[in-house]
């Protein structure tokens, strides 16, 4: 893998400049039930397709940002700082960035 990624602060860089933070998930806002906690801690959607995920520009500005990437092709649809990211579309979800 050596695709390019656009850091919202620094611009386009080699993949090796970045650290991967995995798919976004939602940290429960209050004490969850055991099942919900286990699901948050241990389960990932792992979609084959477009997913929203975290990246950090560890060799550059050190900032964390969000990206939407197609996990099958590594096509990166967009990258953005959390404040500028498009809202999550999935219906009924209160999903935050995590």
């Amino acid at each position: 893998m050596s695709f390019l990624l656009r850091c919202p602060n620094c611009g386009v860089r080699e993949l090796t400049d970045f650290g991967f933070g995995g798919e976004t998930s939602s940290r429960p806002s209050a004490r969850p039930q055991s099942r919900e906690l286990a699901s948050y801690n241990y389960f990932r959607r792992n979609v084959a397709g477009r997913q929203r995920e975290w990246w950090v520009h560890r060799s550059g500005c050190q900032a964390w940002f969000l990206a939407e990437r197609d996990t099958r092709t590594n096509e990166v649809i967009w990258t953005a700082l959390p404040a500028d990211a498009p809202p999550v579309r999935s219906a009924g979800s209160q999903e935050g960035h995590r």
């Binding site: 940290r27 004490r31 975290w54 950090v56 050190q62 940002f65 590594n74 960035h97």
Partner: protein
Amino acid sequence: MRRLPPQPDELIDRTRPLTFTFDGASVSAFEGDTIASALLAAGQHVLSRSFKYHRPRGEICGCGQCANSLVQVGDAPGVRACGHAVQSGMPVVHQNAWPSLRFDAMSVTDRIGGLLTPVGFYYKTFIRPRRLWPLYEQALRKAAGLGRLPRSRAERQWRTEYRRRHCDVLVIGGGIAGLSAALAAAERGADVVLCDEGPQLGGSLLWEGGAARVRQLAARAEQAGVELLSGASALGYFDGLVAIWQGDVLHQVRARTHIAATGAIEQPFVFPENDLPGVMLASGARRLAELYALAPGERAVVACISDSGLNSALALKAKGIQIAAVADLRTDALRRPAAIALASAGVEVLPGAAVVRAAGKGHLEEVMLAAVTPDGRAREAAQRIECDLLATSAGMMPSGSLLLQAGGQARYEPALHRFMPTVLPDGVHAAGSICGYEDVDAAELSGQIAGLQASAGSASAGTGTGTESLELRALRERLESHSAEPLTPAPAYTRDGRRGGKAFVDLDEDVTVKDMALAVKEGYDVIELAKRYTTVTMGPSQGRFSAQGSARLLGELTAVPLEEVGLTTARPPWVSVPLGVLAGRPFEPAKRSALHAEHRRLGASIRWAGDWRRAYDYGDPDGEALAVHTRAGLIDVSTLGKLIVRGPEAGELLDRLYPNVISTLQPGRIRYGVLLSDSGRITDDGTVCRLDEETFYVTTTSTGATAVEQWFSWWLADWRLQAHITDVTQGVAAMNLAGPNARMVLAKIADFDVGPESFRYLDARQGQVAGIECLLLRIGFVGELGYEIHCPGPNAGQLWAALLQAGADLGVRPFGLEPQRILRLQKQHILVGQDTDSESTPYSASMQWVVKLDKSHDFIGRWALEDAAQREPQSMLVGFTVPSGEVPTEGAVVLAEPGGAVVGQVTSARRSAQLEQSIGMAWVPPGAAFDGARITISDGQRTLEALITTKPFYDPDGAALRS
């Protein structure tokens, strides 16, 4: 092969003769020769022995595309003899033959090969009995494989330069299409790089009578600013990054758009004994004649399916080579102008005919020609023709592996009888014979079109889209007026029906028609499976001469049309490349503390610790540890992670990240803390010190610094609190002065009161020590009175020297990482990652005191810990002593009873000189986690009895620490 009289486009310089050696014997050559052309001129027709059967193999393509020409040059195996320029004195030796190329003992596998080496033979034969595999492996390794790697480091010295290049357009292939594409793009202002694997730019026109035309084009391209790289193979396409190997440089090119002008590869026929030296591609024969002035044979037969073969026959004839016959598969071949020209020159052209067998002892002596059915069977008794050269031309296969790697697709076009690129990914264009434009003018036009398309919208090129689209349209119309030349597709396999003789589908891997048939019979009947089972197309030439042929054969064997069989994708690298070229310069990113020079001067043994080079000890770890107990020691702890967390909500951020309360910390005070994941597992530990209302100084473990910084800033990015994190790990040095005399040493050179009442345990002070601005933390990782002194890295050397000097009469001694590990183990201070793993919670690690579930805050890991607090952990981290004094290996297992089940593991173990005891830490079942419990440690051959100690081994109440 004899040399021809001087040829107009020859690359050799006859005024500059030189000599080199082949298998120790001297060989004459000219400058400009390749190793292969020089060897052929010297009469050496066998260049190698084949991979499996050790059959003699000669020149085929003349341009380094096949495995036949692999030789060893000096210490480099796998060098392509026909692509590598010869140099004076160069030591060349053959590969894969023992004792010599002429007599290879392993060629016995050829004669009895039918019995011994059918496809799948290794898989089926050497699997049983398993215990004999090491023995089998030894023998097989010797019999198979190509070349020998030098063993010693000194023999492996070479240097590769790595060069990054960004550009607008990268053109791969420097034939007429590539050159015209590059020129068109550069003339429109694009920044263009072009690479070609040949020693000279120009592609096939160099030996097809168009040398002047392509040279002129190359000169224009250079003038237009194109960076031209010749002798440069594009190894692969990696998500837009193309690695280009040019001798001692590896270019790593990032282009906005790519143009594949990689050409097409002439294909061989498959027939019995098709691997005899003397059987060549027509293009290979022409190349030898035109570029190296070699007569590829004296009496030639040409077998072809299109005009390009007829043209080759004419060209060879013009060099004075006798053409005994031409077999053209097309039944209407005699109507072609080139056939008429051949006939009028007295050359017999056999329409509808193909070569159905070759024969000769060690070299081609005769071929059998016959009219064949569409599936390649001779319709008639074959005609025997004596010859020493068979020039074959069985159609073209696009050289499309880079396109396929880039995500393009290729499909067999039945109407054109060839594979064609169909889908091109965004930003990738193709031009020239890869797209079927064999005609020179058509290839040039397609290049111009690709150049225009690729340069459109490039950073440096102007836009001007309106005029360019008109220009493009005009070029396209002109291109459409060119039509492909007629051809009759070659059968997968032509034969005379007689028994005997191997027909090779893949010469690299010695895969025969019979092997493919066997694979299909055994169920490997789709190309991707057959490829892996037979290894067809997997040799050094990566299917250049076998991908199309094997696909065609599989189609015939399984009655599937070729367009459905498809092609396999050739993986990078496109040419064999020494691993050393890919390895990078031999430098490892290493962090060094500002005190590194002092450690060297003191003779420390320096070792890796994470990505740091650290002073492990100064030659006497036990003595160094004892000095800390009796007088004082000084250790460099600059590797500790150090973060400044600052802002109005810094305390809030830390309260959410740590399981204890940080925001109540008074300025000038320190608190220990562990970091947890949301599943309650310990990920790091360290101290937090409040410098002022809005500023905290956080230390982390040495290996955890980067991860903790990222962890903090990740949550900060999500929570968006008013706080900032600055990693000062690398700039701030730190040293720990510890031992009963530490205070006296410090008192001598500090500019503030270090007395026990004014500078208490867990106090932090900023002040000058030896005139240097410092932050001092009174903490005690090693268990004695200690001061962790943080100062600017550039002044660390001065401070280190001042502390040693001030402490000289108080017995201060530098100590390294190893004595520190002994000291901390005596205190049962954990090392995260050594004593804990991804399952460890503060409860199981016996550190419940760091968790404040009564704090009102939510914090990372809280919910999981609330659950964990209700349950007994499965395993507990405790200390142990071994009464016998033996020290178990770290990682040794804890058993339920001698010979019983494994119930735990030793994480740390040392001998403590201070305690005169063997001590350690281990995970044990909760039932055994009490003082005085006995456990059994199984350590390889040893069984050790140990006693549990849950309190620190040394100074359990911390009196020394707080003194």
